[in-house]
């Protein structure tokens, strides 16, 4: 469960990137976080993961406050950033084993998990090569695998589909659905409205640091008779 309560982030003492937003993501839900560029998506995600401290408000992950008990809160989630260019001179397998050590995953579990994910993402033959030799999509896959190696209850994914081939994108979407069905929480940002439409139990639309809409897509569509999702998104962000 994720609880974001009245969270505000101010840059350079004056620019309010995020302004008193509140969201609750229950277990079993997949939330799509949508908004135009610069709306405050990445800032919100950074505050949820402890990369940035909120100036006001609090973020609770499974009831644990990320500011007050950072280490315990960080154990609750797996995070995929929007930049997969990390530790490029480690081999894929070294990176995954490093992440498993960071999250104290026992040897049997890490071996099973890495094998399963490498099969799913067709990365088995790339594990022994340096990440530097990977394409953008392969880097994205290895980062996703690193994020999931400790089987976290909460998934926080910043633009996770970027660069993925159709098979891998499909596999990830299926994994997200299964994870939520098992009573876990998935929170991901995206620009692709169709992905949000097919996958999410709810969407949160952020614009200029404010939550412009938070609820199911069905409820949203009811208010905009017959309009396409794209038109609704443009309307919501224009009027926010």
């Amino acid at each position: 469960m994720i609880q974001i309560e009245n969270v505000t982030k101010i840059y350079s003492g004056k620019v309010k990137a995020v302004d008193r937003i509140s969201l609750t993501v229950n277990e079993g839900e997949i939330i799509g976080f949508i908004g135009p560029n610069g709306a405050g998506k990445t800032t919100t995600i950074k505050m949820m993961t402890g990369i940035l401290s909120p100036d006001e408000g609090s973020v609770l992950l499974n009831g644990i406050d990320i500011t007050k008990e950072p280490l315990e809160a960080k154990r609750q989630f797996g995070f995929v950033s929007d930049n997969p260019d990390i530790f490029l001179r480690l081999k894929g397998i070294e990176y995954l084993n490093f992440m498993a050590d960071i999250y104290n995953v026992d040897e049997a579990s890490r071996r099973t998990r890495i094998n399963e994910m490498a099969d799913t993402f067709e990365m088995t033959q790339a594990l022994n090569d340096k990440i530097l030799s990977y394409s953008h999509g392969m880097r994205q896959k290895i980062v996703i695998m690193g994020c999931l190696v400790h089987s976290p209850n909460i998934w926080i994914l910043d633009e996770p589909m970027t660069g993925l081939d159709p098979q891998s994108a499909f596999a990830l979407k299926e994994m997200m659905k299964k994870h939520a069905e098992e009573g876990n929480t998935v929170f991901f940002s995206t620009h692709v409205l169709e992905v949000a439409e097919k996958l999410c139990s709810k969407v949160a639309i952020i614009n200029k640091g404010h939550i412009a809409y938070f609820g199911t897509l069905e409820e949203l569509k009811k208010g905009y008779n017959g309009m396409s999702l794209e038109d609704i998104f443009l309307e919501v962000t224009k009027n926010a």
Binding site: K46, T49, G50, I51, L52, S53, L71, E72, K74, R75, F79, S81, N83, D85, I86, F87, R89, L90, K91, I93, E94, L96, N97, F98, A100, D101, I102, Y103, N104, V105, D106, E107, R110, R111, I114, T124, Q125, A126, L127, N128, D129, K130, L132, S133, Y134
Partner: protein, 545 residues
């Protein structure tokens, strides 16, 4: 021309805005540049004194111009060596290259713009050597007014030719040697080439210091120094620059300027033919794409302690990233080699001095302990690992913030990686040297102990500096270590501490308890700095983003 100016302005803004760290400006950070100036003063003053003393020998034999010649050639040689490292990363492997190649720019514009930025950067290096030497020259020679504008023109144009020569060499290699386009391989290759040259020059200069003063004067009178002659031919404008300065001769200055312009024009013409041939298709690394065998898979997935795993990750990145390997790790190989070269050059005189060392003298023990301490400080400050440990993370510093490992534990892991290299460096220096000078084993082990304690201190100190002012915005790995002033900031306390320790040792009586007190003092100092690191990491790390 318009494109050139636009591109250069953008690159300059990018390069020079990256010189500063990121984050909130604290009082300490505002104060640090002044501290850096203070830290460099002893070195600048030594260069000034050395130049002054050399002039005192040269003036009576009417050879004062030699100092100007040595200065210009020294700068040219340094710039050439630096450029061997700099040119590949700036022209070929920097992150902006793929964007630039896709823009409608001709090769001369890209090369000219990158060249301009590099020249401006070289001025910083040049100022460091030339200011103290020229101050000494002006003070002793009292040159006429015309000397000053000539000096400015000569110095401003000085880096251009050696930089062009290095650029042409690298461009040819990138074009003609297919495997050079593998970035890692090329960086190792160019790194070892430059190190080899540096060692060669060191060996030659060590040999020449063995020459007696009379022999040196005789050689100078004949004007028969082959090394200088080689350089005069290799960089053709330099002799005109030297003559222009010594004789304050405007005709020589004119020829100097014309040669520089001619070489620059020729360079741009050549660049238009060969730059794109090398730059297009620069790849990063190779891959096998083979399944891991079962046994290898098991070995690769063994569980480990978090701090040790983290430290191993740091070491792997240090060894596998050529720029980091050259700047942070290679010193442990380089220093003992230089030592051996120097000892070899010392010859029989050195053996005689060794024979006279009274190893059993009680006073020598306390000075050797202090020597061990200074060795630990020196080796640890040379490897640059902890003062750049966070800077090297660059834009990926966010990783440190979302993982469930405390900031202090992460700092400990980074310090361990620095300590491993420091300890190896100390062992490679101390043990062979002890073997050569036949020092008693107990003394050597005691020295090793104190050097270990000072290495711990120095590595934590570097860590603290990098936590307070990490340089996180950079385009190429080179900037994270070489254009990072953090290592220089650790020098101030290191100098002060070395000085303080030797002063204290001198004051203390010669007795066995002195050694115990000294070691206890170092242990307390280490405990203190570890505690400070914990406080600083918890205060400053949350501010990074």
């Amino acid at each position: 021309m318009h494109n050139y100016i636009a591109l250069t302005v953008v690159s300059l803004k990018n390069t020079f805005s990256m010189f500063d760290g990121k984050g909130k400006k604290s009082a300490i950070r505002k104060f640090l540049p002044i501290l850096l100036g203070v830290a460099l003063l002893p070195t600048l003053f030594s260069i000034y004194m050395l130049a002054g003393e050399t002039l005192k020998i040269l003036i009576p034999i009417n050879q004062s111009g030699v100092i100007v010649g040595l200065l210009l050639m020294g700068i040219a040689m340094t710039i050439f060596l630096f450029a061997i490292f700099l040119v590949p990363s700036v022209y070929y492997f920097s992150k902006d290259i793929e964007t630039l190649l896709a823009l409608p720019l001709n090769p001369q514009t890209i090369v000219a713009s990158k060249f301009t930025v590099t020249v401006l950067y070289e001025y910083l290096t040049m100022a460091f050597i030339s200011i103290p030497v020229l101050t000494a020259y002006i003070q002793h020679m009292h040159p006429s007014f015309i000397f000053y504008p000539i000096m400015i023109v000569v110095l401003l144009l000085l880096p251009i030719v050696p930089l062009i020569f290095a650029s042409v060499l690298i461009m040819l290699v990138m074009w003609l040697i297919p495997f050079a386009k593998n970035r890692d391989f090329f960086n190792f290759l160019s790194g070892f080439f430059a190190l080899g040259m540096a060692l060669g020059i060191n060996f030659l200069s060590t040999s020449s210091t063995q020459m007696s003063q009379n022999a040196m004067i005789e050689l100078l009178m004949k004007g028969n120094d082959s090394l200088l002659n080689i350089f005069r031919i290799a960089i053709p404008n330099i002799s005109f620059g030297i003559q222009a300065l010594i004789k304050t001769d405007l005709v020589q200055l004119f020829i100097y300027v014309v040669i520089v312009i001619a070489i620059a024009v020729a360079f741009l013409l050549l660049a238009s033919f060969i730059y794109f041939r090398g730059a297009i298709g620069v790849n990063e690394t190779s891959a096998n794409r083979r399944n891991l065998k079962s046994a290898a898979y098991k070995r690769s997935t063994v569980a480990g302690n978090v701090i040790i795993t983290y430290a191993l990750k740091e070491l792997k990145l240090l060894f596998r990233t050529p720029i980091y390997f050259m700047n942070c790790v290679s010193t442990i190989i380089l220093m003992p080699v230089i030592l051996l070269f120097s000892l070899k050059a010392g010859g029989s005189e050195f053996t005689a001095v060794i024979a006279m060392i009274p190893w059993n003298e009680p006073a020598i023990t306390k000075y050797l302990l202090a020597g061990g301490f200074a060795l630990g400080l020196a080796i640890s400050s040379l490897n640059l690992i902890t003062p750049t440990a966070i800077s090297r993370e660059g834009q990926n510093v966010y990783f440190m913030k979302y993982i469930p490992v405390s900031y202090f534990d992460q700092m400990q892991a980074k310090v361990i990686s620095g300590l491993v290299i420091s300890v190896l460096g100390i062992m490679f220096m101390l043990f062979p040297a002890a073997y050569i000078v036949k020092a008693p084993i107990v003394l050597v082990l005691m020295m090793f102990g104190t050097s270990l304690l000072s290495a711990i201190f120095m590595n934590y100190l570097g860590m603290i500096v990098d936590i307070i002012r990490p340089k996180l915005v950079w385009e190429q790995e080179q900037s994270a270590v070489k254009q990072n002033l953090n290592a220089a900031f650790t020098m101030i306390p290191a100098f002060a501490l070395s000085f303080g320790i030797f002063w204290l040792i001198g004051k203390l009586p010669t007795a066995s308890w002195v050694a115990y007190v000294f070691i206890l003092l170092l242990v307390v100092l280490d405990a203190l700095i570890i505690m400070i690191t914990k406080v600083v990491s918890e205060k400053y790390m949350p501010l990074l983003s």
